[in-house]
């Protein structure tokens, strides 16, 4: 295991040439966001650690998981690993679910080095900054929020770890976006029916796979922590009990904000520059009272720059969305070969499969649209043949150009669930779905006419290797 928390991962990034440290003093605005934008604009852009922010005592880290190189390193793969190979590597680890190790001694948990229970002031602990100009304020955009099901408080499977946008609305008051289909909204609904507060722990500056799993669509009763262990090839994450509740928090996180969701209360939150590359408006959203902060010495505030795609969020909800959707589909449709749901949380999803019978591509698309992620987030499904790499957009475009007849191969389903932040939808949360069948027809579907596909010349694979070796010399 190469790293057990954010700090060790920063060292690992540095060792692999993927970390830049800025030691000159910078301003909270616009410098932190500008550096966030710049870091993802660079090819295989680096993570950036900013050590001196004007007016703040502690550093900021940004773009930790952004770029395919950082993404590969997060899974301890060589940083040159292709997207397709990262997909299959993640898929191979997906079943290795490993529960976390629960520490009992606070001295073993760096997140407990400092414990604040009085005069809470979030600005003392983290370098809060505006991300986009018209945001309603300062946002914590990369936290792992931990809550439990009040009707099943001992269940660690139903314990949810999710990333939701959080607006700082006071020294100890937060606004949080809990959309109806988020697991945290299930916890909230049950508590609000009983007018009870929901204990919450908000982990900041996390092991990269904690942040990664916090953005992954898995089943309600599955534990994100168990998946962190899986993606670490069976190495468990270390967690420890929160100060005020039975919630389990990552022991190595930089800071933990503990408190409770105020039941049956909403306040103005937003706007916030969101992942579709547009602002989502102001709404009346859930509020959290922070009552305890625990943090490491010299805590690093890790935050997410969100802008016009791609930014770090597109990697944080990228291959995990692909693999989770693939696993759901593969269980019932073994003909599915790979799933590319990389585009805006899977809004566009490309699936390669071997059609079993005529029209099969549509059943594959229907299944994708019923997956945990796809039921809301996916708007367009493109199905291609099994010999097409869905991560190779040139091949996918070739299929659209040559295997898809618009009059027969496109289906639109109106009035389905949608991603509420989709700026193109007429009603937030309701969307049409489009299925594009770009596969070759198989019986009983008929080919429009006989086709004879080109075959590559004999020996080309050997020549590929030879030429590649010659290039390296």
């Amino acid at each position: 295991m190469a790293f057990k928390d954010l700090r060790e991962f920063l060292k690992y990034l540095d060792k692999n040439g993927q970390l830049v440290t800025v030691n000159d003093q910078i301003d909270p605005e616009p410098d932190i966001a500008a550096i966030g934008r710049a870091s993802v604009n660079l090819p295989e852009g680096p993570a950036v650690l900013m050590n001196k922010i004007k007016g703040y005592p502690y550093p900021v880290a940004i773009n930790i998981c952004g770029g395919w190189a950082n993404h590969a390193l997060m899974m301890e793969l060589p940083k040159e690993t292709t997207v397709r190979d990262q997909f299959f590597a993640m898929n191979e680890r997906w079943d290795k679910l490993t529960p976390p190790t629960v520490l009992t001694n606070k001295k073993d948990a760096p997140c407990k080095e400092n414990i604040i229970t009085k005069d809470i002031n979030l600005f003392d602990v983290m370098a809060l900054h505006r991300i986009n100009d018209q945001d309603g304020g300062y946002y914590i955009s990369k936290a792992a929020c931990i809550t439990r099901d009040l009707n099943d408080p001992e269940s660690t499977g139903k314990e949810n770890i999710g990333t939701y946008r959080i607006q700082v609305k006071g020294k100890d008051l937060l606004g949080i976006q809990a959309l109806g289909y988020h697991d945290i909204a299930i916890h909230l609904r049950e508590a609000e029916k009983q007018n009870k507060p929901v204990p919450i722990a908000i982990a900041l500056g996390n092991h990269p796979l904690v942040s990664y799993m916090a953005g992954t669509s898995i089943a309600y009763d599955e534990s994100e922590y168990d998946y962190v262990g899986a993606l670490q090839n069976g190495v468990p994450l270390e967690v420890i009990k929160a100060e005020e509740s039975n919630l389990r928090v990552p022991a190595g996180s930089e800071a933990i904000l503990e408190g409770y969701i105020l039941p049956r209360q909403r306040g103005v939150e937003g706007p916030f520059g969101e992942f579709p590359g547009t602002y989502s408006g102001a709404r009346l959203q859930v509020e959290i009272k922070v009552t305890t902060i625990t943090h490491r010495n010299n805590p690093i505030f890790e935050n997410l720059y969100v802008g016009i795609p791609w930014t770090e969020i597109d990697w944080l909800m990228g291959l995990n969305t692909c693999v989770a959707t693939y696993r759901e589909m593969k269980a019932q449709q073994p003909e599915v070969v790979a799933v590319n749901a990389l585009y805006t949380h899977g809004a566009v999803t490309i699936i390669s499969c071997k059609p079993r019978f005529g029209g099969y591509a549509k059943t594959v698309a229907f299944r994708a649209l019923c997956s945990v992620n796809g039921r809301t987030n996916t708007k367009i499904v493109i199905v291609v043949d099994e010999n097409i790499d869905p991560f190779n957009l040139e091949q996918v475009m070739w299929c659209l150009a040559n295997r898809m007849a618009p009059e027969n191969d496109v289906a639109i389903i109106k009035g389905a669930p949608g991603m509420p932040l989709d700026p193109s939808s007429e009603q937030a949360g309701i969307s049409a779905k489009m299925i594009i069948d770009a596969t070759t027809p198989v019986p009983p579907a008929k080919m429009p006419k006989e086709i004879n596909i080109l075959v590559p010349p004999v020996g080309y694979q050997q020549w590929e290797q030879t030429l590649a070796k010659m290039l390296k010399k």
Binding site: N121, G136, Y138, V268
Partner: protein
């Protein structure tokens, strides 16, 4: 203090910078807009704040409630 975004007289200083009082942060208790003393006028002055992003206090109760608050369960 007038909020640049909703024009309510409910804004106030929230905090000083923890180091050297390098800046101040202000907060509106009505619309929860916050800004820093170092922000440009477009983000800090009610007269020059973007009209597109202004909030009319009368419209606040009409904003979408997310998620909806469920009915209380009868005991």
């Amino acid at each position: 203090m007038i909020c640049p975004r909703c024009d309510s007289d409910t804004a106030h200083k929230l905090v000083d910078a923890p180091v050297n009082k390098a800046w101040e942060v202000f907060l509106c208790d009505t619309c929860f807009y916050s800004w820093r003393s170092t922000d440009p006028k477009e983000l800090s002055d009610p007269k020059t704040y973007s009209k597109k992003f202004k909030i009319d206090v009368a419209n606040i109760p009409k904003l979408a409630v997310i998620p909806p608050i469920p009915p209380l369960e009868k005991k």
